[in-house]
């Protein structure tokens, strides 16, 4: 008996066994809910029953989208960093009026369904968008001067719009924790502000920048809606090609080959990222003085802050604002007489949302949709935090199995929602999942996407907790769980909040898997939005925008509540 206990203790000391212990549940979760459906799908489709042979593959159908995917993802990621890094600087260093609101608003694009974002950009930059109308009026032009929709620029802009928040959240989370004395030390040693940034700030931020870059790149890499709806028909990424092959040409084997390719690319990118970033997280000095947030002081600082706020506002917020504004405006040709367009303020779109005018079985009351969305988001948060924390602890053990399992964890980001959805259908179409328990599949699918974000947020925070603090707590008599509660949890609290916000927004906004897994009994907000916008008529369009506005408000409310949550120890930050 005692020898077994000794054995156990020995295992507990071995980092690989510890890593295995921490990985156990997350690996079962991923294996069961991600790898099983995918493998089952691929296995089925490549089986002879589907009559697929590799010799029939038209390589051009693979290379062209792959090339374009890599190109647009790289360029989009670069631009996102160009906007996001100064944004992170702004949020970590300065206080200014409306900062909390701006930060919350910059998170919102993340949750918006692409259909609505396209509508928002259309209302702003489309042929009859406000900017074009304004320019036409101002310069007396006959045709809209800005051609935005269906351009490559629209794809890039929308990707920046969607993903800037990732860079801002991930990087400023790390930046705020940086010991300001290090930059002071560099200055006193003769480093100019630029040298200080290059030699000290940037290297210390590198792990978080790499993490943000990876997440943004993968998001852009698997981009679907943006490319389809804003880029127009001449652009196709792998994901768009998968969509075409799977759902419009019913060529599932080719779709599988493409999605395997997409997964392999994701894997390569993730492994390269792991090589590049290594184990860069550094312990925070317990006496570290964090960057104090202050008002911009000198003239050029003020100008820079104003410029950044304006840039973030015009890029991230104006499309949403124009969308929200549009949900209160009536704009329709009056009885077919052109030129006599009735314009004005209306609340009808909102009023109409509450009425099931046609007695439809599938009518979605907005409150029910919001409730369902939140319920799924809450389950997603619980699942991802539980598994995310376990993975973060597993990654902290210096064991080679992390080199294998960590990239495998990131793969769901590179899996096409269509492929995963179809895989779910094959594997989970028998009890307990087919009927009553089916709704749990949706938050599980959301969790698969959110988990990489949560892990990438929690892991650096965990690695920066100095080991001595835990030892101190142990010596002071705290049992392991108390050590976790009194040391780890408070020090990770800000990162846990960021992780919760990621899980919330991903779950609220996810649409791809939702179309496969959502149940009419539990319609979510994005599903409801799509129901309206897929039908003609001013009222449907207005209701879709009104529902989107509700989604934004509800999500902003959720974020504000989360940011005010009092986790133990949050006050010390």
């Amino acid at each position: 008996m005692s020898s077994f206990a000794d054995q156990l203790r020995n295992w507990a000391k071995n980092p690989t066994w510890r890593a295995v212990a921490f990985w156990l549940l997350p690996a079962i979760f991923l294996g069961y809910f991600f790898y099983q459906p995918l493998l089952a799908l691929f296995n089925l489709l490549i089986s002879p029953r589907w009559g697929f042979s590799f010799s029939e593959l038209n390589l051009n159908k693979i290379w062209a989208p792959l090339r374009f995917t890599v190109f647009q993802a790289s360029l989009s990621t670069l631009l996102t960093l160009v906007i996001g890094l100064p944004g992170a600087w702004l949020f970590t260093h300065f206080s200014f009026p409306g900062k909390r609101a701006l930060r919350t608003l910059t998170t919102l694009p993340f949750i918006l369904p692409t259909v609505v974002v396209a509508a928002g950009f259309n209302a702003l930059l489309g042929p009859r968008g406000w900017i074009n109308l304004g320019l036409m009026l101002l310069f007396n032009l006959d045709s809209p001067p800005i051609q935005f929709l269906n351009t490559f620029g629209a794809i890039l802009t929308a990707h920046v719009f969607y993903n800037t928040t990732i860079v801002i959240r991930v990087v400023s989370n790390a930046w705020a924790k940086q010991n300001i004395r290090l930059t002071h030390a560099a200055k006193v040693l003769g480093a100019s502000p630029w040298q200080t940034f290059k030699e000290v700030t940037l290297p210390l931020l590198r792990p978080s920048i790499y993490a943000a870059t990876l997440l943004v790149f993968l998001f852009n890499f698997t981009s679907f809606g943006v490319v389809l709806m804003l880029g127009g028909p001449q652009y196709a990424t792998l994901e768009v090609e998968i969509y075409i092959q799977a759902l419009h040409l019913l060529n599932l084997p080719l779709a599988s080959v493409l999605s395997i390719l997409q997964l392999v690319c994701t894997l390569i990118i993730t492994i390269a990222h792991r090589r590049l970033s290594g184990q860069q997280a550094l312990p925070i000095s317990p006496r570290a003085q964090e960057i104090g947030v202050r008002k911009p002081r000198k003239g050029f600082e003020k100008i820079l802050v104003i410029l950044l706020v304006v840039a973030l506002f015009s890029l991230l917020i104006s499309p949403m604002a124009s969308l929200a504004l549009r949900s209160f405006v009536k704009l329709e040709p009056n009885r077919g007489e052109r030129g006599e367009i009735e314009r004005g303020f209306t609340l009808n779109y909102y009023k109409e949302l509450g009425i099931n005018r046609r007695g439809s079985l599938f009518y979605v009351p907005p409150i029910a949709a919001a409730r369902n969305s939140f319920m799924f988001a809450l389950i997603t948060i619980v699942i991802t935090l539980f598994f995310g924390l376990l993975v973060a602890y597993a990654l902290q053990q210096s064991s080679p199995i992390n080199n294998i399992l960590d990239p495998l964890l990131m793969l769901p980001l590179g899996a096409s929602a269509i492929t995963l959805g179809l895989g779910f259908i094959i594997v989970f179409n028998r009890p307990p999942f087919s009927n009553i328990n089916f709704p749990i599949l949706l938050p599980i699918a959301h969790s698969l996407v959110a988990l990489p974000f949560v892990v990438r947020t929690l892991s650096p925070a965990l690695q920066s907790i100095p080991y001595s603090l835990r030892s101190a707590a142990k010596v002071l008599g705290a049992p392991p769980f108390r050590v976790w509660r009194e040391v780890d949890l408070p020090l990770m609290a800000p990162s846990i909040l960021v992780a919760i916000i990621f899980a919330l927004t991903i779950s609220l906004g996810e649409f791809g898997a939702s179309t496969f897994l959502s149940r009419p009994e539990y319609p979510t907000l994005p599903v409801a939005i799509f129901r309206y916008i897929s039908q003609p008529g001013a009222m449907n369009y207005g209701q879709a925008l009104a529902m989107s506005t509700i989604l934004m408000v509800v999500c902003a409310g959720g974020i504000l509540v989360i940011e005010r949550l009092r986790l133990p120890g949050k006050d010390i930050f």
Partner: protein, 352 residues
């Protein structure tokens, strides 16, 4: 060299530094001594250019540094937590300042080797700074601050985080290095022993002002006011009321005491605080007018002398003296103070 003129700074609306002025000369190590929270570190950051004062000037060799950013001041600052760059190894940390000056590679290497030798850390060049012990980190931080040959070196509680024996050893080393390099230095600490050991001149910072400055022995022997005497633990402080100004006589619970005063003595009838240094007590000076009698309640042997605690009466239950011979606990004891050894001090509240 360095002139600090009327520096003002507040923290969260409360004044932290009120018109601080002092001068640091070539080859001089001055020590800013004060309790924690007295604004010592803030003053260093202002001199370094990391923070801006709300008033006053920092002048180097007659040149106002207001427009000179921190990285162009060529001052060295060693931080309380060392602030070593965790992403660079020992050698890279030391070389940092030299690289910023774009010195040639060979020169940097030579300087780093020399610096490592100076701090007795040969062979540590490639070590990660996060793996060093506290004393090693402290020495690397010092080497890093000294390597670019700063015009002025500032040290912010450099020994604060270390244990006592390491602290004594390193303060000796530090004194040697400061003497050898001849760089003017400002040393900030809250520990008077450290300050006495290292400083050519002490500046006592309290409540936003420099209460007193001077060589350690001067301050020790001529504390300016009651706060200074208390801060240094100089001896027994007894309050009384002036009954005669020349010679100064004060009515205290010990009786009428003849004392001396370095400044203008208080007016008759005013309050006065008298300092009796334990070591100045003597036993057989019959001609001494100040005679104090009491009962010995405690005795501690301290090598050269015996530290005795006396009970004089109800209002003065504890009075410390230091004598060369022991007196058994419980015995009656009479001691004497010369008027010149009883110092009349200004009240702490007298300061503006």
């Amino acid at each position: 060299m360095l002139t600090v003129e009327n520096i003002e700074k507040s923290y969260e609306g409360k004044p932290l530094l009120k018109k601080i002025s002092f001068v640091v000369e070539q080859d001089e190590t001055i020590c800013l001594l004060g309790s924690s929270g007295s604004g010592k570190s803030t003053l260093l950051r202002i001199i370094a250019g990391l923070e801006e004062p709300e008033g006053g000037r920092v002048i180097w060799n007659g040149q106002d540094l207001a427009g000179t950013p921190a990285h162009q001041r060529r001052f060295g600052l060693m931080f309380q937590d060392y602030a070593l760059f965790p992403h660079r190894n020992v050698a890279e940390n030391i070389a940092f300042g030299l690289r910023m000056q774009n010195r040639p590679q060979e020169e940097i290497q030579k300087s780093v080797t020399n610096a490592l030798e100076t701090i007795n850390m040969r062979g540590f060049a490639d070590r990660k700074v996060t793996e060093l012990s506290g004393g090693e980190q402290q020495r690397v931080a010092l080497a890093r601050a000294l390597a670019p040959q700063p015009r002025l070196l500032m040290l912010d509680e450099p020994l604060g985080a270390l244990d006592r024996s390491l602290r004594e050893q390193l303060s000796t080393e530090l004194r040697r290095i400061l003497r050898d390099t001849k760089v003017p230095a400002i040393y900030v600490t809250h520990d008077q022993e450290e300050a006495f050991a290292i400083a050519d001149r002490l500046l006592l910072l309290h409540d936003g002002v420099i209460l007193q400055s001077g060589a350690p022995h001067e301050i020790y022997h001529h504390p300016k006011n009651v706060w200074v005497a208390k801060f240094f633990g100089l001896g027994n402080l007894i309050e009384g009321r002036v009954i005669e100004r020349s010679p100064l006589k004060v009515d205290t619970p010990l009786g009428i005491i003849q004392a001396s005063c370095e400044q203008d003595p208080p007016q008759i009838g005013e309050k006065a605080t008298l300092l009796f240094r334990p070591t100045r007590a003597c036993r057989n000076e019959a001609h001494c007018p100040n005679q104090i009698a009491g009962e010995v309640v405690d005795q501690v042997f301290q090598g050269e002398a015996y530290h005795l605690t006396m009970r004089i009466n109800e209002s003065i239950p504890l009075f410390n003296v230091s004598l060369s011979e022991p007196v058994p606990v419980g015995d009656k004891l009479t001691i004497y103070f010369k008027p010149g050894d009883v110092l009349c001090l200004e009240d702490e509240g007298d300061q503006s």
